[in-house]
């Protein structure tokens, strides 16, 4: 039991007091804007099908269950049921995510704005960050622009073979026959993210192949984009948002595509969440939603270089 000497918390008491203050400020931010807090379940029979996100399995009375990787599906069911604007500030779980910036159990802030698009929601993300750190600089750029600026390649129009060659150099031979989305992720994470400006950088119009649950569209240059954005605070991925997909048929086909990709990478199949599909069938209102990692936000506020330093007990201590 080498962990026995790790009974103490990773965060100092001063950090835990700041954590408590930040949680209170986040709730206050949404209270003032009449966004309702919802505490949706962490344990469910269904989970995400996303082939890059693995759920931790659990059981309840011999029924297979999963710890939720985000509150998204439950929140969308509430939106479809007429909740109006809502936020959730709670835990999320992701299997095998351990590292300096990852903990398998972490605190996620997620909120939805009815009738908004992703650009209005980006404004609110910036307002929230500035409310916590008033001097934060905010910059916005499209995924294509930031990619071209740093790598001189248009990520939407480049040949897959060229992206694979670049990924092999940035990573290893293992990327030689990777998908477009995975090559782009590697190039962005390794070559672009560390070069981003200080402060909050909001990157929007992700390639359509990385749409996840965002609506897709075509930009003025004829690029197939997804209406998805990400927020980076001091070069650390902090938030991911969408102009939400509301079309149930399109949602069902993305679930099917997830299953195909899971099978391809040898992962166990996951049944699509039929309750979510039923809710979307009934009608998910047009909305934009975003999820933000609260522990990472605290890391930036504290200048901490490990997530363990801002949590009471990270997985290493559990």
């Amino acid at each position: 039991m080498e962990h026995l000497n790790q009974w103490q918390p990773g965060a100092t008491m001063a950090t835990l007091r700041q954590r408590s203050r930040v949680l209170a400020k986040l709730r206050d931010f949404f209270q003032q804007r009449q966004v309702m807090e919802v505490d949706v379940p962490l344990l469910s029979r269904a989970t995400v099908t996303d082939h890059n996100i693995d759920s931790i399995q659990a059981r309840n009375a011999d029924v297979a269950a999963y710890l939720q990787t985000s509150p998204e599906y439950f929140m969308k069911r509430l939106l479809a049921a007429g909740s109006g604007d809502i936020y959730s500030l709670g835990k999320a779980f992701r299997d095998a995510e351990n590292g300096r910036r990852h903990n398998p159990e972490f605190t996620m802030l997620e909120w939805y704005r009815c009738g908004w698009d992703e650009h209005q929601l980006m404004d609110e993300v910036a307002e929230l960050i500035v409310s916590l750190v008033p001097e934060t600089g905010v910059r916005r750029c499209s995924y294509a622009d930031v990619f071209i600026q740093h790598l001189q390649v248009d990520p939407h129009f480049a040949d897959l073979a060229d992206l694979q060659r670049m990924a092999v150099i940035a990573g290893s031979e293992a990327w030689a026959d990777e998908t477009r989305a995975n090559c782009l992720d590697l190039l962005f994470s390794v070559l672009i993210e560390p070069q981003l400006d200080d402060g909050l950088v909001l990157v929007y119009d992700y390639p359509a192949c990385q749409a996840a649950l965002a609506k897709c569209a075509e930009d003025s240059q004829g690029r197939q984009i997804s209406r998805r954005f990400e927020g980076f605070l001091n070069r650390v991925e902090l938030a991911n948002g969408y102009c939400e997909l509301t079309d149930v048929a399109e949602q069902a086909s993305r679930f099917a595509e997830d299953q195909r990709l899971r099978k391809l990478s040898g992962k166990a199949p996951v049944t699509a969440d039929l309750q979510l599909l039923a809710a979307m069938e009934a009608g998910l209102p047009e909305c934009a939603g975003v999820a933000m990692g609260v522990d990472r936000l605290l890391m930036q506020l504290q200048g901490a270089d490990s997530i363990d330093q801002v949590m009471p007990f990270s997985w290493e201590r559990c």
């Binding site: 996100i53 590292g99 293992a174 992720d185 590697l186 390794v190 996840a212 990400e230 999820a291």
Partner: protein
Amino acid sequence: MSNYSTNEFRSGLKVMLDGDPCSILDNELVKPGKGQAFNRVKLRNLKTGRVLEKTFKSGEQLEAADVMDTDMQYLYNDGDFWCFMEPDTFEQHQATENAVGDALIWLSEQDTCVVTLFNGVPLSVTPPNHVELEIVETDPGLRGDTAQGGSKPAKLVTGAVVKVPLFLDQGEIIRVDTRTGEYQGRVSAK
């Protein structure tokens, strides 16, 4: 030999990379929220000493390197090889000049060193942190000058040259830190 997966990579683990044994220095998980997980890994090539950074897909595996650190007594140099002995088994190992490397100038017979074995063959030698060696060549000592600063080069019996205080003389035995090559003090006159 077994394999290690990226999620088992931790500092100090010895693995094979491109045919060379390497020691892992650092392993960081990179996982875009919606993207594929990969690992940025820093390794030291134990043959060349060079530090390199590699990116692996999470779940990729590397073969474990059969690398072992063993305390051994230095016996003698026969002209081609440096001979070391395991004190428990009396088993002897021949190290090449390449393996002995920078340890060469600190080795005196009977000293206990750490010999790193790769597939049973000495790959590198780490001398004791502190050694006591005789001065064989230096300018005559300035008597009485024990308090003033100032230093002079002194050649030791093993061939190392270290800076020593002015009052020391040929034939004296001094203590040296092999990690920094710094003089630590006078042990005794011969």
